[in-house]
């Protein structure tokens, strides 16, 4: 029983990180119809933001978080202006290539400055965690789960109950219609990039104390997050969350009960199953080609 609960806790914890990155994928996809392959690098930039502010400059942890989030917002805006905006009227493919290029660029800039050696980031809380008998709940994983839940709730309130949120939703549903209704589409897309970059940054900040900080951090998470978005139904917000947590739990249980070396395969076996049997994902609706 303890083993079961321990695996479940760990699976949900790492799944929450996948969910946060998946959420960034989904929001940008909804706003622009493009998959942002640099989403994982947003997490890396966030994690290095914390290393620079707290480890290098010695600022308090919360100040580091605030500065990093501000930097992420700016980064999201710059990313939009340099990677998406110039190509906004082109087809899907050039934009995708552009995000892949941006991802390689970001990785190498960080590699150039920091090198391949991993850096360390202290956990958010001083306490190591809670022991319940043989069960150990890592404080950082508890933080991750709590922050993810809070963000999901906030995001729900924002999109469903504020005018700005509704405008952003309108843009994601139909850009031309939204534009005819006087919504500034370009600004809404800008806001989406800013918010997605901050989400990715938060994922990086949260996961850095556990996985250490290196350029490889983004790739590890982004691939799983991408699988999560497909399982959840591409473009579906609750789907991304459920998909992320499902992948975390499935791979953790699969690793323990079936095989550790094939741990990464489980996420993709589930992904293949979905692509074959239910390509629209858990929550997606079957969309026929727009006329």
């Amino acid at each position: 029983m303890t083993v079961l609960l321990q695996l479940l806790f760990q699976g949900v914890g790492i799944g929450a990180v996948y969910a946060l990155v998946a959420l960034g994928f989904v929001l940008i996809y909804r706003a622009t119809n493009v998959v942002n392959f640099a989403q994982g690098q947003f997490a890396v930039v966030g994690a290095y933001g914390m290393v620079v502010t707290t480890a290098d400059l010695g600022l308090p942890y919360w100040v580091g978080i605030l500065i990093t989030l501000a930097v992420m917002a700016l980064f999201g805006a710059l990313f939009n202006l340099s990677v998406y905006y110039p190509l906004r009227n082109r087809s899907f493919l050039p934009v995708v290539i552009s995000t892949i290029g941006a991802s390689i660029f970001i990785t190498n800039i960080i590699l150039g400055v920091y090198g391949p050696e991993p850096s360390m980031l202290a956990p958010m809380l001083d306490a190591p965690g809670i022991s319940l008998g043989n069960l150990f709940l890592d404080a950082q994983y508890l933080t991750i789960i709590a922050v993810t839940l809070a963000l999901v709730a906030l995001q729900y309130l924002f999109f469903e109950h504020t005018l700005l949120g509704k405008r952003m939703q309108a843009v994601s549903q139909d850009k031309e219609m939204a534009s005819l209704l006087g919504i500034k589409v370009g600004w809404m897309i800008m806001l989406t990039f800013i918010y997605s970059a901050m989400l990715g940054g938060i994922a990086g900040i949260l996961v850095a104390p556990i996985l250490f900080v290196s350029v490889g951090l983004g790739g590890q998470i982004a691939l799983k997050a991408f699988a999560a978005t497909i399982i959840g139904g591409f473009g579906d917000v609750p789907g991304a969350i459920v998909g992320g947590i499902a992948i975390g739990v499935i791979e953790t249980f699969g690793a323990y009960y079936i095989s550790v070396p094939y741990k990464d395969a489980f996420a993709f076996i589930v992904l293949f199953a979905f692509l074959l049997l239910r390509p629209q994902g858990l929550f997606g609706e079957k969309v026929s080609q727009k006329a």
Binding site: V3, Q6, L7, Q10, I14, V51, A55, D56, L111, V113, Y114, G115, P116, E117, P118, S119, M120, P128, G129, N134, F136, D138, I210, L211, F212, S214, G216, G219, Q220, I221, T252, A255, Y256, V260, P261, K263, D264
Partner: protein
């Protein structure tokens, strides 16, 4: 180490390194009468930092050789080419050096895959190449020109088993290993050696590199009757995550790991989670008077601690000089015979006795992580 990570400091270090390289061009032109050793070394790419250590080690040895009268009365000089931390880069660098017919012998790579990539050209050029990669197969493929200056991985498994079973008297082993080439070879050899030593392997846990979570591995070890862990981790990050979760879930069994467990990066990332663990190391400053003298001279020259990146190149340059002096000739065949005849040469990595395959070393040091400090326990040597 923390200071090394700051961009400004790193930038300063790089600028200084560049200045040093430029100065060396100006100060020491290679003259026709000098005796040249070619050196393939990463100057750019991911391993550039360790490449600098390799050059420092080789340079230190060359200075000592020249202070003692040089080689065949001539001055020993190093000619370097950048391998860009890649296999094609290594091959290209070796061939550029090999096109200079006056180069007598070479220092190759510390990476096994690069050595493998260079192997066909090494056979064609037919001059001695010292290298540091530890894949046992490299010297078993019949290339007569490869000479290894580090113990190969067949010995690492032997030493882990000999120490864990023979000294710690622990018989129920959990083996944790990376599923890449290095880790799965280590795993294979370790399981064989443990069984030969009369121990029982109660659980074998492989993992793919860049893992995000080791809970399933730790729970499997916790649920097994293992009283000791033997490990082959390729990357210090994976080792760090595993060590942290192992301690969190209350596993306190002794642990004997492959060299990554005492790597500087692992000590920095894992901190107290690795206290009390044992590791094997091919270079340790306290393992012999020669190693101590080298570490002190290195520290005095470069304000940095010596490690195996610099120790093997130091030994390689000394061995090359010794063999050429003994052969009284730069003829490749004569030099090769002289290298193979080297017996009981006390280098800083260990005592060299070259076998017919070209393996110079046949043992490892056992070290312990004593509250973050790596302490020498003993050296375990096997017959060649």
């Amino acid at each position: 180490m923390a200071a090394m990570n700051r961009p400004s400091v790193r930038l300063g270090v790089r600028a200084a390194a560049l200045a040093a390289v430029l100065a060396s061009f100006a100060a020491a032109p290679v003259r026709a009468e000098d005796l040249k050793l070619g050196m393939v070394v990463p100057v750019t790419g991911a391993a550039a930092e360790s490449g600098r250590f390799a050059q420092w080690g080789a340079q230190l040895a060359a200075e000592e050789v020249n202070a003692a009268g040089g080689v065949l009365g001539r001055k020993l000089v190093l000619v370097t080419e950048d391998d860009q931390t890649s296999n094609p880069g290594g091959v290209a660098a070796f061939n550029r050096l090999a096109s200079d017919a006056s180069i007598v012998a070479f220092l190759g790579s510390i990476r096994s895959t690069q050595t493998q990539a260079m192997d066909p050209d090494v056979r064609r050029v037919a001059k001695p190449v010292f290298f540091g990669g530890t894949d046992p197969e490299l010297t078993r493929s019949g290339d007569p020109w490869l000479f290894r200056c580090r113990p190969n991985d067949a010995y690492s498994a032997k030493v882990i088993a000999a120490f864990g079973v023979g000294e710690l008297k622990l018989k129920k082993w959990a083996v944790v290993y990376s599923t890449d080439a290095f880790g799965s070879n280590g795993h294979k050899h370790l399981v064989e050696e443990l069984k030969a030593a009369g121990a029982e392997v109660v659980t074998e846990q492989g993992y793919a590199n860049q893992a995000t979570d080791f809970t399933p591995v730790v729970l499997a070890i916790k649920g097994s009757p293992a009283d000791v862990i033997g490990s082959y981790f390729t990357f210090e990050q994976d080792l760090g995550i595993f060590a942290r979760q192992l301690r969190q879930l209350g596993v306190r069994t002794p642990w004997v790991g492959s060299p990554s467990i005492v790597a500087t990066t692992a000590l920095r990332l894992s901190g107290p989670a690795l206290f009390g663990t044992y590791g094997i190391a091919d270079f340790n400053a306290d393992s012999s008077p020669e190693a101590r003298a080298f570490a002190d001279a290195y520290k005095a020259a470069h304000k940095a601690g010596a490690d195996n990146f610099s120790s093997w190149t130091y030994d390689a340059v000394k061995l090359a000089a010794r063999a050429i002096n003994t052969a009284k000739s730069t003829d490749p065949k004569a030099v090769r015979e002289a290298i193979l005849a080297i017996r009981d040469y006390k280098g800083v990595e260990g005592t060299y006795n070259f076998d017919a395959n070209g393996d110079g070393l046949h043992g490892y040091n056992i070290v312990k992580n004593d509250n973050g400090k790596v302490v020498f326990i003993k050296h375990i040597e096997f017959a060649p």
